[in-house]
Each structure stands twice: as C-alpha cells, then as structure tokens.
C-alpha cells in the first residue's frame, strides 16, 4: 500500500488498449512490449499484466504475476528508473485532458439518470470441491445499465396497494441473456436472443408508506445454447421513491443451476449441472462502479 502511494494506480481493459487506434490505445502500444511480451508471442497473445510508465510514455516496468512480492519488486525498480528521468522528459507537454475528449469509451454512456445494477455471481456450495482451489471460492461481477426511459417503463401508470405487473419483456430478456451468465470463474459471452426459453420478472406492490412503494419481485429464467445453460428462480424487493422518481432499492436474488462451458470461463472440467447464485442490487456512485457492462456492445445503445 505504501509503495503504491508513489504511483497513480489505474486499471483498464487490455484488449481495447492493445488493438484499437484511439489516442490512449496508441499511447499504450508505444511502450507496452518494451519489457518483453508478458504472455507469449504471436498476434493473438494478450497483453494482460501490470505495467508502469511515465505519463509521457516511457516504459518503466511490467509483470504478469499473482505473487505480490514480484509485483512489488517490479514497482520498486520502476520507481528507481522514474527518479533518474528528468521532469520535462517524464511528463506530457500537451494537456492530456484535451485528449480525453477524443477518446471513445463505453463508460461515457454511463446512465447517470437511469439505473445501474451490480450483478454478482458465485457458485453455491456443493460436495466434492477442494477448499484450497481458488475455483471453489471464485466470484465475479458485472454491471447492468438501464436508461432513464427504460426505468420509467418498468413502472405501471398507477401504483396502488396490490398492483401487479410484469417488467417489460425486452428489458428482462436483455438482463438475463447478457448478465445471468456463468462468469463465476472467468468472462463469458451472453446468450443469443433465441436461447432464452423463459424469462420473466413479476412485481407486486406490498406496501405504500408516504412516498415509498415496496414492491415484491419474483421471476424465473431458463436459457441454453451450444451445450451450456442457466435456469433458476428469482426473488427480491424494490423500494420506489415516488417523490424522487427513482428506486431507492432494487435487489433480486437468483438461485439456479448452470451447466456447460465456454472458451474462457474455466469450466472445461466442470460441465455437469451445478448450483449457482446471483445477487443483483443497485450499484453505488463510487468511480469503480461506473464500469460499462462487459457485453455493452450487445445493448445496441447509440
């Protein structure tokens, strides 16, 4: 932690940095391989890892390792190199804030006036797993975005005691096929629209107190394609604030079963049906919770 205070720490998605022609990507590509490619050779080799550089783009070090001691050693060496470089050489002469305006990122479409759900996933307990294996405790998360008009469409025209309705089919189907996926051990693609066999979220007003409407959420999902699938039931609660016209709470727990594997989700030896759980809840305003959905391209937002 102390060592990290000497740096400005940042995190980013590496495929984009390594492959696109945006200004920030070109900046990264200038120096990323100076310490050697971190994950083998060849055009498809990923550049995943930890890197150090000067703002001006001088390479200071790189490593891709889970051992914190190796990363700390790389950081110390990078700091030593940094101190040897003159200030005018290590900083950018042009204001990098201006460059930010030229960079096209999904995060710029963050729905500040809409709703963002954090979707957490983890395997449910089962017998036969090794407690010392990281995969037993693996968990993942992603963000599901909804625009302001989509949130408005989630509500009926009038909210009275015992009012019942279903969330719009298109929004529920997008949510389940892109976000209720088996990403527990690693990233995976969503499902094609035709893979969704069953997807619904039902709402029922259970209480109205002043400007807060309590809504019970129940639902189900079943989707499968190419030998993989997820099915389960949903239960949750939402609190809609009629004064602020926003949800103060929106939480859904999904308990179900997953099966099959995809190229990168590390299920190659775990394809049988097994229990999986999800918790969807409102994301905070913390900067680290404003990351775009992994499959944002599938949203079709312009």
């Amino acid at each position: 932690m102390k060592l990290l205070e000497s740096f400005v720490p940042c995190a980013d998605e590496v495929w984009r940095l390594h492959n696109l022609r945006e200004p920030d990507c070109l900046h990264f590509q200038k120096w990323c391989d100076e310490g050697g490619t971190l994950n083998g050779d060849g055009r498809t080799a990923t550049r995943q890892g930890t890197y150090c550089c000067t703002p001006s783009g001088q390479f200071l070090g790189s490593a891709n390792h889970r051992d914190p001691r190796r990363i700390a050693a790389m950081l110390k060496e990078a700091l030593r190199k940094w101190k040897e470089i003159k200030k005018e050489d290590r900083l950018l002469k042009e204001d990098p804030v201006k460059t930010w305006e030229q960079i096209d990122r999904s995060e710029k479409k963050y729905p500040a006036d809409g709703m963002v759900l954090r979707v957490n996933s983890r395997d449910m307990p089962r017998t036969g797993l090794d407690p010392n294996d990281w995969r037993t405790h693996a968990w993942n998360f992603d963000y599901a975005w909804f625009k302001k008009d989509e949130v408005a469409r989630m509500l009926p025209k009038t909210l009275g005691k015992k009012t019942e309705w279903r969330l719009p089919d298109d929004l529920v189907r997008r949510l389940v096929r892109i976000h209720l996926v088996d990403n527990v051990r690693g990233q995976t693609g969503g499902y094609r629209p035709e893979a969704v066999e069953d997807a619904e979220i039902n709402c029922e007003v259970t209480r109205i107190k002043k400007n807060i409407v309590t809504i019970k959420l129940t639902g189900k999902v079943k989707q499968q394609q190419d030998g993989r699938g997820v099915e389960g039931t949903m239960l949750g609660e939402a609190l809609y604030n009629t004064k602020d016209e926003k949800f103060d709470k929106f939480e859904i727990v999904v308990l179900g079963t997953r099966w099959g594997a995809t190229q990168y989700n590390r299920r190659e030896d775990d394809r049988e049906r097994s229990p999986i759980g999800y918790v969807l809840h409102l994301a905070s305003d913390h900067p680290t919770e404003k990351i775009a959905p992994a499959e944002f391209g599938s949203y079709g937002w312009r």
């Binding site: 740096f7 720490p9 995190a11 200004p23 930010w100 993942n140 900067p287 990351i291 992994a294």
Partner: protein, 80 residues
C-alpha cells in the same frame, strides 16, 4: 399412525436437501450472503484507483508521479 410418523421422519433429509436448493423467503438471506463478496474480497476498492488508463495519465501528469496500470481482458473492476 406410527408408520406414518416413521415415513415422515425418513422424508426429512430429502426435504432438507430440497429446501437448500429452493429460493424462498427463508433461504433468501442465506443465498444473498453467500453470493455477495466479503469485506476482504472488496478491500481493493480502498486504493485510489482510476478506472481508465487515460485518467491515470491525466492525474499522474498533474501529480508528477509514474502510472501503474493493471490491465486485464475484461475490465478488472467489472467482469474479467
């Protein structure tokens, strides 16, 4: 009566297994707690992370510090 009681007792373990895999008001909190990350698993948020490489460059240029970039396939603060 006695036979019925024995039969019900034999069915209890099955019922327990079944309820463990069902989402009900009773099991909701247990499932929720199991899935959500612990405080230890979320400890990484305590660092002053910038969420893009370029924001790191902007701040490093202003603060005269080197950039440390953690880059993964899939954003490390989202699904990776």
């Amino acid at each position: 009566m006695k036979r019925t009681a024995i039969a019900l007792l034999l069915l209890l373990p099955l019922a327990a297994i079944s309820s463990a895999n069902e989402l009900t008001d009773a099991s909701y909190e247990r499932v929720r707690k199991h899935v959500l990350p612990s405080a230890e698993e979320e400890a990484w948020r305590k660092n002053a992370w910038r969420t893009t490489f370029w924001q790191g460059v902007i701040d490093a240029n202003k603060e005269d510090k080197p950039v440390m970039l953690f880059a993964m396939n899939g954003h490390p603060f989202g699904c990776t």
